[in-house]
């Protein structure tokens, strides 16, 4: 449903500070996918996702939503942004209203909804983020904890009822519990609310487990793409561009390198545990 065609982006063109942040990127994201975008800091991930809902205008190339260019002039940018919602890194910095209710309602209000619908939307957003509507709605967003603030910010974009959510490093700076909780909520949005999720992250363990497809960026270019099993099957390349393998893949590859005939395309603790147990049990029973 989202397609990027030959997209290049240059920041501050014509000045000595010119940066070529993206070079000739083409990619396609289908409805219902959970895609991960990974790459070193400065590789252009944030620049790319800001193109997907028209916050940045491509220097050349195009962005298509359901086959229509979002820059053709015929489409309403606000409508696009409500369909393709983007949550920036450290979204808690964007909170500004006196109450959680007002802040979450900001997005839907801009869509011109009436008060009754607004209330429904706010309730929906907060509930999706497991924040109790009654007890949070009148609190000041500035009095919340870091994790809560972030969930309120996220509720703010969910209240616009988007079809696609783009999350730029959603778990950066959270403690392990907050991280786990947020990831579980995102996973639920994907599986139950049927949202298409695009997640930018530095955490290979999270993304290999959650995403069904990965895009790997390096220095403004799309260098690898495919299922996690495919992408992490080229450990050499991954390390070359400054990334890490997921811990579990590393473990499985080490075992394989030491001559054990074991699968390396598994990414959850349960699967990997089962595989290793099976291998060793199997091995022992062979010897006996």
């Amino acid at each position: 449903m989202l397609e990027v065609k030959n997209l290049s982006h240059v920041y501050m063109p014509g000045t000595p500070f010119q940066v070529e942040a993206l070079k000739e990127i083409s990619l396609k994201i289908e409805k219902g996918e959970f895609v991960g975008i990974i790459g070193e800091t400065g590789s252009g991930k944030s620049t790319l996702v800001q193109h997907l809902n028209g916050l940045l205008r491509p220097t050349s190339g195009d962005v298509l939503l359901d086959g229509c260019s979002i820059w053709s002039g015929k489409v309403n940018m606000r409508a696009i942004r409500s369909r393709v919602a983007l949550l920036f890194q450290y979204p808690e910095h964007q909170l500004f209203e006196e109450t959680v209710y007002k802040d979450v309602a900001f997005g839907p209000r801009n869509l011109g909804l009436d008060e009754k619908e607004l209330q429904k939307r706010v309730r929906y957003g907060l509930e999706q983020m497991e924040l109790d509507y009654e007890s949070y709605k009148d609190r000041s967003p500035f009095s919340l904890s870091g994790g809560e603030k972030r969930r309120v910010a996220m509720a703010g974009i969910l209240a616009m009822k988007p079809e696609v959510i783009i999350l730029d490093e959603p778990t950066a700076g959270l403690d392990p519990a907050g991280r786990r909780q947020l990831l579980a909520l995102i996973e639920k949005l994907h599986s139950e609310e049927k949202l298409t999720v695009i997640m930018v992250t530095h955490n290979m363990d999270e993304v290999s487990r959650l995403a069904n497809r990965l895009f790997v960026f390096s220095a403004g270019r799309l260098v690898l793409q495919g299922e996690p099993a495919v992408v992490f099957n080229s450990p050499q390349k991954i390390k070359e561009i400054g990334l890490e393998l997921p811990v579990l893949s590393e473990l499985l590859l080490k075992l394989k390198d030491s001559g054990k005939n074991i699968r390396t395309d598994l990414f959850t603790v349960e699967e990997v545990g089962k595989e290793i147990l099976e291998y060793f049990r199997g091995g022992r029973s062979c010897k006996v």
């Binding site: 501050m12 014509g14 000045t15 000595p16 800001q50 809902n53 916050l55 606000r78 942004r81 409500s82 919602a85 983007l86 949550l87 920036f88 979204p91 910095h93 964007q94 909170l95 500004f96 900001f106 997005g107 801009n110 869509l111 500035f142 703010g156 974009i157 616009m160």
Partner: protein
């Protein structure tokens, strides 16, 4: 937001870049005084040629330089119009209802505009080739004699450094917040002036919150390193004047004397 290049330092390696910042500030002062000594258009032409020579010695890209002038264009234009319309005297060139464009107005307008343009260009030449840090160093040094009069040179320089240091950061931050709110359907571009002002709230509140947070963090970081102002503070980079600095200063002084005594 990308057009705000006024005084944005451009690193480089040229005669102008390598001048001692104290000397550079003195030169700037001398040249500004010179500009106010100019009495005829010939003087401006002379000064203009001089500035063009300096500009080519600075190796600055001229396109970038001209963009730096854009923000003051409005002020310059305004000066010109005001003089044209309201300075009276001499022949009348044009009548627009109660307003007239007269000879003295045209003369003064052009004269003042030239002075203003050259003033901005000269200042820009200096600020574009001096890093904010050495700029502040220079200011601190120049203010040193006034310490006894109670002017806290070091503190002023420190405040300048910090302010300059945070301008790009805050611009980046405001750009980010603006985009974040636009992603939530905010509109910063349309509507009348009141509406626009109200629409800025979602931008300004987070910006202030973040500025205060940064100020707080910075204060703690400085305190953690036992910062306590100017007394007995040593410098990481000592400033040394070299022959070329004296050359630069002599040239500026020469310019001033030439204009003063030739009467142009």
């Amino acid at each position: 937001m990308q057009s705000i290049t006024l005084g944005h330092y451009l690193p480089g390696d040229s005669f102008l870049h390598n001048l001692d910042p104290r000397i550079k500030l003195l030169c700037l002062l001398v040249l500004i005084v010179t500009l106010f000594l100019v009495r005829t258009f010939w003087g401006f032409m002379f000064f203009g040629v001089f500035i063009i020579l300096i500009f080519s010695a600075s190796k600055l890209p001229w396109r970038y330089f001209l963009r730096g002038l854009r923000p003051v264009f409005f002020i310059i234009f305004f000066t010109l119009i005001l003089h044209f319309l309201f300075t009276d005297g001499g022949r009348v060139y044009l009548r627009l209802g109660p307003l007239t464009v007269e000879e003295a107005g045209v003369f003064m307008g052009t004269f003042m505009t030239l002075r203003l343009v050259l003033l901005v260009i000269t200042t820009l030449l200096i600020t574009l080739t001096t890093s904010p840090i050495s700029f502040a160093d220079g200011i601190e040094y120049i203010l040193r004699p006034f310490r006894r009069l109670g002017i806290p040179g070091h503190e002023i320089a420190m405040m300048m450094t910090i302010a300059l240091r945070f301008i790009p950061t805050l611009m980046e931050e405001s750009d980010k917040i603006r985009k974040a709110q636009m992603a939530r359907g905010a509109d910063f571009e349309t509507g009348n002036i009141f509406r626009r002002a109200r629409n800025l709230v979602p931008l300004l509140v987070p910006l202030f919150v973040s500025a205060f947070r940064r100020a707080d963090e910075l204060a703690i970081a400085m305190e953690a390193r036992c910062y306590r102002g100017g007394e007995n503070r040593t410098k990481m980079r000592e400033l040394h004047t070299r022959p070329r600095d004296y050359l630069g200063l002599s040239v500026s002084l020469g310019m001033m004397l030439a204009i003063l005594f030739s009467g142009v």
